[in-house]
Symmetry: C2
Subunit: 366 residues, 2 copies
């Protein structure tokens, strides 16, 4: 321990920034593999296009907008999403076959501009209208609404569905005020598969809303993450603490406590999700155990194990389980659990094929 | 900084273990979402089977062995792999259609037992023989060899191919002595797809060896990882240091230096991989940019961007790029770059469909 104390005393903040080593929390340093932090987003996006140019491409003259390389809107509603960077695979990872058609990308943890949303929508618009499908945050809502107004002046009609699945942020009676978190994956999966079947905008909006309403997510954070531009942690958390219900940008959760076991954390979260969705014996759900960034996949499966044991005891059926990093917060340690209450219609589109560079599912019929 | 020093002085090792908070390196603490550390592997495996029982199942009476739920060996060679835990998706993540057929799982960073390898092989063996395909480590080699001898006593014939792609660990002239690292993904992908076409064992071995010979990987480590059982870091690295060439268990690399930019690290690695594979103008490669565990996907794409720029300058063609966590070391920060030199045969099987819970690829023909 002595060596640590001596090393720390020698350091100044300037040294960290020079060496690309940043303080992440009171007692942790993480390092980033980056170039100029100001180019973090533009270089990430360029890397994605270079790696996956067969599936994704930049919008003409706006390198904050991406669309499917095979986008076809002549016979389907186009789904446009967007949000801040730092959450890969959310949001742009869900642009592809059976998912969304285009995405407007903001800076780290920052809403995309109304102009970029407009540019993406203009590039995609066919004769069948547009659905804006995104997570419920104030800045995103404002900019998507401004873009919708701009599009209406061009006689393009837009419907919007905001995903608001974070149970910690508002009660069920006010569920549309909740923050949008990892559950948006299910909204992309189901709405995207549904829209591939050439349904009208009104129907596409209906299934997106139905999915959103049947979602419930809660997370646990064990560490903050480091913002590339500032090199600073986005919140403080003690070295043996966890926060249940914390949002993906460090928004306050329900309570802080000394870190508990995986089983205790899982029970704590599932008690709330079960109540929130009013789940009863023999209901069926899809499960997502999502990693926040630096929590190993092994630990996520230890959580998935307890999710199965818990729901089995309650005789809730698990139709499908997804485990992995679906919506992250840079290098934050932690995870979230999402339940989606299913019916036959939702199952049908959950099972359909999807193909983006970040999420692939082989269709059931195969 | 003052608060940090005070907090550290208050802590003792006992406190960390009690609270599931472990020291990871001189100046870093990470926390784990686990139950009893002794059950880390068994609970991870149980979680995987509960989540993906439609695709994977335990070997009868050996819960350290997993096989494909749809394993068919009557008309194909069975591919058996194995290795230590803590590297997900390696190794068990590559058991599925178009990949391996079964896996023997060891404890964290520890070889699987010869008995488990034998049990997996016995469960899979059809009339067409077995290929053992695994990473080149002493303990793994010893136990796979013992299992092969046990199988020969049962009149089951086994061929073995060890993947040894870590350029930092031996010169090209001694490439079979290298450690096996993330490049094994390509060996699974290509050998698995090839074996689906009902080729004889001799041919399956040939394509596995051809893939292995054309692989070159080098990594960079920025932090150590925390072993769940001991709660201790597996090596020490300074708070502003990186180690180029470090192995996935902390084996020594080529040099340590203050952390450089993403572009500098990429160039440092690619200079060595280019020379190692004797790549020339107009050669074609597949690229894997692999994250070690806690490095965000955004940073991996910043590396992928520079890989594309570098190889374009050298007029090396990039046939396909994979970016993500393909072989990890728990929560280690860092990444590796793998190049696979391609010909038409390797491309054909690289493009084929694959479907495991951890890696999916939609076939090209679709």
């Amino acid at each position: 321990m002595q060596k640590l104390l001596i090393n720390l005393k020698k350091l100044s903040v300037g040294q960290f920034i020079l060496s690309h080593t940043f303080i992440t929390q009171e007692v942790g340093f993480l390092k980033k593999i980056i170039n100029n932090p100001m180019n973090f987003v533009s270089e990430t996006l360029e890397g994605i296009i270079l790696a996956h140019g067969d599936q994704l491409q930049f919008v003409k003259e706006d390198r904050n907008g991406l669309v499917r390389a095979d986008a076809r809107t002549s016979d389907k509603v186009a789904i446009v999403t967007g949000g801040g960077s730092g959450h890969l695979p959310v949001f742009l990872g869900y642009v592809g076959k059976g998912l969304a058609d285009g995405v407007a990308v903001g800076n780290v943890f920052t809403s995309p501009s109304a102009d970029t949303i407009y540019n993406v929508a203009k590039e995609l618009n066919g004769e069948n209208g547009l659905l804006f499908l995104y997570g419920n945050y104030f800045g995103d809502g404002m900019n998507f609404d401004v873009a919708a107004e701009m599009l209406e002046e061009d006689d393009i009609y837009v419907e919007s569905v905001r995903v608001s699945d974070d149970v910690a942020s508002a009660p069920r009676s006010d569920w549309k005020k909740r923050r949008g978190v990892a559950g948006i994956f299910f909204a992309y999966k189901i709405t995207g598969a549904f829209s591939e079947t050439s349904q009208p905008l009104k129907e596409v909006k209906r299934i997106a809303e139905k999915t959103a309403e049947n979602l419930a997510t809660m997370g646990v954070a064990l560490s903050s993450c480091t913002l590339p531009a500032s090199g600073e942690p986005n919140f403080q958390i003690g070295e043996n603490e966890m926060e249940i219900g914390m949002g993906i940008h460090g928004e306050p959760g329900i309570f802080r406590a000394p870190l508990r076991t995986a089983n205790e954390i899982t029970t704590e979260i599932l008690d709330r999700l079960m109540a929130d969705l009013s789940l009863h014996k023999d209901d069926e759900v899809a499960v997502l155990v999502n990693g926040s960034g630096s929590t190993p996949l092994e630990e996520l499966y230890i959580v998935a194990r307890e999710v199965h044991h818990y729901l089995e005891k309650q005789t809730i059926g698990i139709y499908k389980t997804y485990v992995g990093e679906y919506a992250t917060s840079l290098d934050m340690a932690g995870c979230s659990i999402t339940l989606l209450k299913l019916d036959d219609e939702l199952k049908l589109y959950l099972d359909a094929e999807a193909d983006s560079p970040f999420f692939k599912q082989i269709g059931r019929s195969k």
